[in-house]
């Protein structure tokens, strides 16, 4: 469901979540980002003392040669205790491992990717819903595109968000045209064009803002484009938009081919 251009002008208060709500969500987003940084720092800091503890415990174990232990009444207990220390240190290590992983969740993992395949997979996912809404989905993929070194699931997320927006922009019949092509010597373009409601010029520069939405509450959180833009930027690309109110919109994602894929963050 999408508000028409006129509706948007009549209900300017609907374009954004109420200030208190937005604050809360922003706070939440900042908190999560801060938590990510904090946990990465924490994990690094804790890893070093953990390594020392483990090493000392192992050393102690070696020093307490069986001969010595037998002279203590609690020799076996001492050995058990040392083993337990090492076990618990390993447990802590797996916790820091997870923390580091959490912090790196958004870090792209770079693989060789067939962009046509990713786009087509996501198109197929929205095809049924498009059909139900009388929307014609057309494809025009340039063949023999080079593989792109990028993060596959993150790119899928972007494609789904853009396709979803395109479909939601159409009330009644309409068309969503998806195409790929070589954009230049070092990049590819994915284009998603719709014949939907279009975007008012005064909103064009705000659509990538977090929580900016013209959809009714419950229909949209206004995060799709801001997440997508962040992802594409991280992948070294851009998202451009052209739109005419009442006629439709075209979103173009440009991705670098990155012939030497590298995973060093």
């Amino acid at each position: 469901m999408h508000a028409s251009g006129r509706d948007m002008n009549q209900n300017p208060q609907q374009e954004q979540a109420p200030a208190w709500l937005e604050d809360d969500r922003l706070l939440q987003a900042h908190k999560l980002a801060a938590l990510g940084e904090l946990s990465a720092g924490l994990a690094h800091e804790i890893n070093n003392p953990l390594a020392v503890i483990r090493q000392e415990a192992e050393l102690l174990g070696e020093l307490l040669v069986p001969g010595i232990l037998e002279r203590f009444p609690d020799g076996q207990d001492i050995q058990d205790s040392l083993r337990e220390i090492i076990r618990q240190v390993d447990r802590c290590k797996s916790i820091t491992h997870n923390l580091l992983n959490y912090a790196r969740k958004n870090d792209p993992i770079i693989q060789a990717v067939d962009v046509n395949e990713i786009v087509e997979d996501m198109v197929r996912l929205v095809e049924k819903e498009a059909k139900c809404r009388n929307i014609l989905l057309t494809r025009d993929y340039q063949r023999d595109l080079p593989l792109v070194f990028t993060d596959a699931p993150q790119l899928r997320q972007v494609m789904l968000n853009l396709l979803n927006n395109a479909i939601q922009s159409i009330t009644g019949r309409g068309e969503v045209a998806v195409s790929t092509r070589r954009g230049g010597p070092s990049n590819l373009e994915v284009r998603i064009r719709d014949t939907g409601c279009g975007i008012a010029p005064e909103y064009l520069e705000r659509i990538f803002d977090p929580f900016f939405t013209t959809k009714s509450p419950g229909q949209g959180t206004g995060l799709g484009l801001s997440i997508s833009q962040k992802i594409v930027a991280r992948l070294g690309g851009t998202i451009r938009v052209q739109s005419a109110l009442g006629q439709g919109s075209t979103f173009t994602v440009t991705l670098p081919i990155n012939e030497t894929g590298s995973n060093h963050a």
């Binding site: 990465a40 491992h97 992983n101 870090d107 197929r124 996912l125 819903e129 596959a152 899928r156 995973n263």
Partner: protein, 135 residues
């Protein structure tokens, strides 16, 4: 290809048995689970590289299982299988960290390709963490 460990979760037992067998025939260490609870229990006691997860199941649904997997075993990659695609669930799943969404019925070759990519991603991720931890 020989030591890739795949867990397939689907409540359609016939489908499950067939795909487990076909994966095993191709050298995968494949295991089936009939629901989310069983899958989580298996993951608790076994190491798995990739989970193939049906979106729609009685009991815990696919998205719930996905969320739990990514929380407890974040390195395990999950490929979602869906019969009736809902865009909403697709977006949610990708946001929860799914590797891919595949429409049923999927061609086995396509699925194999995706499993390989998912496993490669897991390896890359592990190497990255290893580097970060040894900095």
């Amino acid at each position: 290809m020989s030591d890739i460990r795949v867990l397939i979760v689907d409540d359609e037992v016939d489908f499950l048995e067939t795909i487990v067998k076909r994966l095993q025939d191709r050298g995968f260490i494949a295991k089936g689970a009939e629901n989310g609870e069983q899958a989580l229990d298996y993951l608790q006691h076994n190491t798995v590289d990739t989970v193939i997860l049906d979106v729609k199941m009685p009991g815990m649904d696919g998205l719930q299982v996905l969320q739990t997997i990514k929380l407890r075993w974040p390195l395990v990659e999950v490929i979602m299988l869906t019969g009736h695609a809902s865009v909403e669930s697709g977006i949610q799943g990708m946001q929860l960290g799914a590797f891919d969404y595949v429409m049923k019925p999927a061609r086995l070759d396509d699925l194999l390709q995706k499993i390989r990519q998912a496993v490669e991603r897991k390896k890359l991720q592990e190497e990255k963490i290893h580097r970060a931890q040894n900095q």
